[in-house]
């Protein structure tokens, strides 16, 4: 059981990495500041480094969303297992649809679903859910959007047109910072899950930090995921929301970096994915002549709203099946593997990779034509 949870946790780490490549690297790829392969390689390396830099593991898996500990629920490996299945499924579905969505919200959602089935509704801390997840989800894109809007205005007011290609060099640095920050935050989550599972299984002393091998494999999993690159999400963020010029890319990345660093160090946690998406939209509004595809933005927003319920539903289902004991757990694992394989096979039908990550410029002007030509390169609205 413990081995199964660790394998799933690593796979979640992998999907987390490839889901979030877009946050840092979508805009430099879109503006041509970095070639796609180079961009994901830099992001992967920085995620790897970042994972080793900070190994302070969270005290609770769910960040207080579930009443854990002595007076609350004991989170069992089976619950973590079901929660991880929910989170992985949702990450893969959003990747297939090309939607940037928060991996941590998916993990919380899956765990919530599993906890409701395993321990009832009373195990969920609703006020923490509101103040830590729901309100920040509204505020993050707004904040980043306003910051990116102002930054774009400043950049375009100061520079003349022919000087703006220089922003490409700046983009490399700002997007690298986002990657590094991501590595220090997100690899931690999986290390926490694995360590708490080992503790719950009695393989490790209570209150001890992650073992070295846990740190190494978590770092490798997230770096590998990042290098594999969620090209569908990169395409949505880089070219699907708005047209991005180097000046806008630099402004958006600066806004993302500043907002994430400020939020982690001044005690108001915001989701990286939501900040990055907000920045891209803000910079689209900020440049004269650029337009934002609000339909795509709306789809992303809907994705954010249903992330937690959807992951919770899958987590709850997996948890309910696992109540049947060992056969249930085997059935869960088999079903999860089947769905994962199916999603990968299905995604092959219209492959999006480093070579076709850019939408043709004409497609931006006439989105209808593009939808016909690539059939389902973009999801039907």
């Amino acid at each position: 059981m413990v081995v199964l949870v660790i394998v799933l946790a690593l796979f979640f780490d992998f999907t987390n990495g490839f889901h979030d490549t877009a946050n840092a690297m979508a805009t430099p790829i879109a503006t041509g500041a970095l070639r796609p392969k180079v961009a994901v390689a830099i992001a992967a390396l920085l995620n790897l480094v970042g994972a080793f830099l900070s190994t302070e593991v969270a005290k609770t898996i769910s960040g207080g969303l579930i009443r854990e500990g002595h007076d609350g629920v004991q989170i069992t490996p089976v619950m973590i297992f079901a929660g991880l299945i929910g989170a992985i499924m949702w990450n893969l579905v959003t990747w297939l649809l090309g939607l940037p969505s928060s991996s941590s919200h998916a993990l919380f959602g899956g765990l919530i679903g599993a906890a409701i089935v395993g321990a009832g509704f009373g195990s969920i801390n609703l006020s923490v859910l509101l103040s830590k997840v729901v309100f920040p989800a509204l505020l993050a894109p707004l904040t980043a959007g306003v910051v990116a809007f102002l930054a774009t205005r400043i950049a375009y007011a100061i520079t003349k047109k022919k000087q703006r290609s220089g922003f490409r060099y700046g983009q490399i640095f700002t997007s690298s910072l986002v990657s590094l920050a991501h590595g220090t935050n997100d690899a931690q989550k999986t290390m926490g899950v694995v360590t708490l599972t080992l503790i719950a299984g009695g393989f490790q002393a209570t209150g001890s930090g992650p073992e070295l091998w846990v740190i190494v494999i978590c770092a490798l999993a997230i770096a590998l995921g990042t290098y594999t690159g969620g090209w569908r999400i990169i395409r949505t963020m880089g070219t699907g929301l708005t047209e991005i010029e180097p000046g806008q890319g630099f402004a958006a990345e600066a806004a993302t970096t500043a907002t994430i660093l400020a939020s982690t160090h001044l005690g108001f946690a915001l989701s990286t994915t939501q900040v990055a998406s907000g920045s891209v939209i803000g910079t689209g509004i900020g440049r004269k002549g650029a337009s934002v595809r609000w339909r795509t933005a709306g789809r992303i927003a809907i994705g954010w709203v249903i992330t937690i319920p959807a992951a919770a539903a899958v987590g709850a289902l997996a948890s309910w099946i696992s109540l049947a004991g060992l056969p249930g757990i085997i059935a869960d694992a088999a079903a999860a593997i089947a769905v994962i394989v199916w999603i990968f096979v299905y995604s092959r039908r219209n492959h999006v990779g480093a070579n076709n990550v850019h939408i043709e410029p004409t497609a931006f002007v006439r989105p209808k034509k593009k939808r016909k030509s690539t059939r389902s390169g973009e999801v039907r609205p």
């Binding site: 970042g50 830099l53 900070s54 302070e56 006020s127 509101l130 103040s131 309100f135 505020l139 904040t143 980043a144 306003v146 910051v147 990116a148 102002l150 930054a151 774009t152 400043i154 950049a155 100061i158 520079t159 003349k160 022919k162 000087q163 703006r164 220089g166 922003f167 700046g170 640095f173 700002t174 910072l177 590094l180 920050a181 220090t184 000046g247 630099f250 402004a251 600066a254 806004a255 970096t257 500043a258 907002t259 660093l261 400020a262 939020s263 160090h265 001044l266 005690g267 108001f268 915001l270």
Partner: protein, 66 residues
């Protein structure tokens, strides 16, 4: 329930930091593109300041430096 004060601090700091970096980098691009007189060194000075801000960001990210 929701900590509005820390939210506004985050909001303000984000605006100042992001706009500051973008302002410096843009000014650097504008000044450094002219090759004559004081402008080019001034532009490079802007880039250096920008680099320092980015290094400060790296410092913030790496916990063992605190």
């Amino acid at each position: 329930m929701i900590d509005w004060f820390s939210f506004f601090v985050v909001f303000a700091v984000s605006i100042v930091a992001a706009c500051g970096v973008v302002f410096l980098f843009s000014l650097g691009l504008r000044l450094a593109s002219v090759r004559t007189g004081w402008r080019r060194p001034a532009g490079i000075g802007c880039f250096v300041l920008c680099g320092l801000l980015i290094l400060y960001g790296v410092y913030l990210i790496i916990p063992s430096l605190h």
